[in-house]
Structures are given as C-alpha cells and as structure tokens.
Symmetry: C2
DNA sequence: CTGGGTTGACTGACTGTTCAGTCTATGGGC
DNA sequence: GCCCATAGACTGAACAGTCAGTCAACCCAG
C-alpha cells in the first residue's frame, strides 16, 4: 500500500505543484494570458505532462482558481481561530481584503478575484463554485458576529444580514484598493469598513493613527 | 466641405458601429473571446477594415470598454436629471446597478465591468481610465447628496465620504447579483443598499412590498 | 515484462496583421 | 462637360506566429 501510495503521493504532489504554479501565473499575467507551457516550465516539466494530469487547459486553470480561493479562506479561518475579540477579528478580515500584500499571500492575488468573477460570469461550473466559496466567507463573518453576541461584546443583531452587507462592502472596497484608486487608499478603505461595522453592530471604534506605511 | 465631411461622417459612423458591436460582443463572450472577425462580421465588413480603423485589436477592445462605460454614465446622468427627490434619485442609482436588465442596456453588460476590472488591473492605461470613470460616478453620488442637503431633505453630512462607501457597497452588491448568488437576489441587494443610505444620511425608508418579479 | 509517468516532436487549427490592389467619387485642368 | 489624377474606404488572400492537444516511444520501479 505504501508502494502504491508512493506513486500516488508523487502524482498528487505534482498536481498540487501545478495548481500552485498555475495560480501564481494567473495572478501575474491573468487567466487569458496563462499558457500551459508556462505552467510546465515553472514546475520543471513538459507541457505534455500538464495535459496528462489535467486533460485540458481549461480544467487546469479553473481548478487553479478554486485551489487558491480555498487556500485564501483556509488562511482566514486559521487567522480567526487565533484571534480572540470581535473587533480584532473584524479588523483581521478587513485587513485581509483591503490591505495589499497581507501575509504570505501570492502577490497580485487580487487579479485572481477579478479573473474568478469574469470566469464565473460565463461558466456555470465556476459560478456554482464561487457561490459556495462566498457563502463560506459570509458564514465566517456571521459566525464572528454571533460569537461576539454570545460573549456579550455587542447586543443582538441579525448576523446573517450584516454578513451579506459587510461582505459586499469589503468586495467593493477591495476593488478600489486593488485598482489603486487614489481616492480610496488602503487606510481609507480600512476606516470605512470598520466604521460601517461599528455602526451596524454598535461598538466603539476609532481609527488608530498608524503612521502611513512606507511606499 | 459637405463633401469632405461626408466621408468623415461615414468613417465616424463606422467607428461607432464597430465600437458598439465590440462592446456587445465583449458582453456576450467576454473580452478574451472576442475576435476581430466577429466584430467585422457583425458590422458587415472585413476584418482588415477593423484593423484599418483601429490599428490593433487591443485598442479596439479597450476603446469599446471605454465607450460602453461612458454610455452607462451618461444614461445615469440623464436619469438623475429627470428625477427630483433625493430618495428617488438614490433608488434610481441602486436600481441601475443592482437590478438586472435595467433600461435599454446591453444585455449581460455586467460582464463588461468584470472585464474592465480585469483589464484595468494589468494595463495602466485602462487603470487610469477606470479611475476617472469611477470618480465621475462618485461625484454623481456626492452631488445627489449635496442637493439633498441643499433642499433640506436631510441634515448635513460628509457627501464625499458617503459617496465612497456607497459606491463600494453598490459594486459589491452588484457582483453578487450579477453572479446570481441565491443569497443575494436583486431585491435583497436593493434593500441593503437603501437601508445603508437611509442610516448613513438619516432619512426614513422602508422597503416597498413589491410582488416578486416574475422569473 | 508490465504499466504508469514522462517527454520531444509534431500538427492542426486559429487568428491578428499585412499587403497589394479594387472600387468609388471627388475635384481640378482643359 | 469630359478626363485623368488622387485619395480614401474597403477587401481577398496570404503570412506568420502561437498554442492546445496528440502520439509513439522511452524510462524505470516493481
């Protein structure tokens, strides 16, 4: 079994390697400009092998999108688990979406969101996936709120409804930040998001005067 | 002069024809899957002519994006001009972004936003353009608010700050609606947006029980 | 010797772009 | 009023490059 597993494990590693490489490349060049041979080159294999594993370019890239989004949400999950208070948790979420280069993320990973949306808009499979992923995201937000209520950090509110609105707001703000809109810099996005949350949930929050991050 | 103008006018018409056709096609198939020959076919011309006018595929598609976004904003402008009250104006804006098939728009025009963002993320020219367009959008929102203050429909607020937040929220909600998230149907998006506005600006608003639009 | 991982070489289709030249009409010289 | 030169819109055909996907063969662990 260890024997069979061995080759299977190698194969799985290869697959994951390729998925990660594909995700990186999509982030760098965009979905449409990512070639099979690029992915192959990055993992040190031949283009034919990539096809061997994924059958078609489209499934590779599509799975790569899934892969990286899941990675993102998993990271968010962990981060939340190791953060105690409601406010800090919310700050974490905002930070994660609205501030560039958070954590060890793939650089330019915002491009992945744009491509995900673009693909989802036209391909039902991707669309279905994205809906699930986003539901997971909103559930996380809602759970954070419910925990806050449970720990009596805030009064009772409709956690689900808040989650929908908050998630949408974060999406919108992250777009502006990702596209480097001079009017909506990360700091401002951060402030707007937290102000919204504090108003909707009824807790005190004031922007901490953090010195502007070095450009 | 009428003579010279004649050919010039024909040429301009052709250009606009092509831009519109390109915009439609981008909306239908997506930026990446729009071929020059498709555009040519739709206007009843040869692919060579399209190149003759635009020089390169990329400038055609890019200009087509600009073209259609400008069209959208112009429509919004007109709509606002013919709407008197603050609340009705806000409802118009929300409707425009969060309800499918508003007006005589290009069907599937949401796809254009996704493609615009995706392109803007990587191409500085497009990015610059988008920033301007979005600034125009926020200015419209801010102006609506200022008008409302001036007509004493609401108390004084920071119109600019509201515009940034509201625009972001609308973007986020429109994404969910465009991608047909079952949790965020148009009606709910509408409600969330208006609730946010009424809270932030301090006016009364309650959702009108409109019977669900036939599917 | 068997079978799965792996590859290099290849191809077939697609498509942006070029180019040489056609067609039409305008406008000036006679 | 006729004719030729010029320009600009327009096209068919070819070119050139790109790439996803195929295939027959190879390598090697078991």
């Amino acid at each position: 079994m260890a024997i069979k597993a061995d080759s299977a494990v190698v194969a799985d590693q290869r697959r994951d390697q390729m998925l990660e490489a594909a995700a990186q490349l999509i982030a760098e060049r965009g979905f449409a400009d990512t070639r099979i041979s690029d992915v192959a080159k990055r993992v040190g294999a031949s283009p034919a092998l990539v096809i061997y594993y994924f059958g078609t370019k489209d499934t590779l890239l599509t799975e790569a999108l899934r892969f990286s989004e899941q990675t993102f949400y998993s990271m968010a999950d962990e981060l939340l688990a190791s953060t105690p208070s409601l406010v800090k948790r919310l700050e974490t979420l905002v930070h994660l979406t609205c501030v560039p280069q958070t954590q060890g993320e793939i650089p330019g990973s915002w491009g992945l969101w744009f491509d995900l949306w673009t693909q989802a808009f036209r391909h039902p499979e991707v669309k279905k996936d994205r809906v699930e992923l986003d539901q997971r995201w909103r559930s996380m937000v809602a759970q954070v709120v419910r925990d806050g209520i449970h720990h009596e950090e805030i009064a009772t509110v409709d956690a689900e409804e808040f989650a929908v609105a908050f998630a949408a707001l974060l999406d919108g703000l992250s777009i502006q930040v990702a596209l480097e809109d001079p009017v909506v810099d990360p700091e401002r996005a951060y402030r707007i998001a937290m102000r919204f949350a504090s108003t909707a949930l009824g807790f005190d929050w004031k922007p901490t005067r953090r010195r502007s991050s070095r450009s």
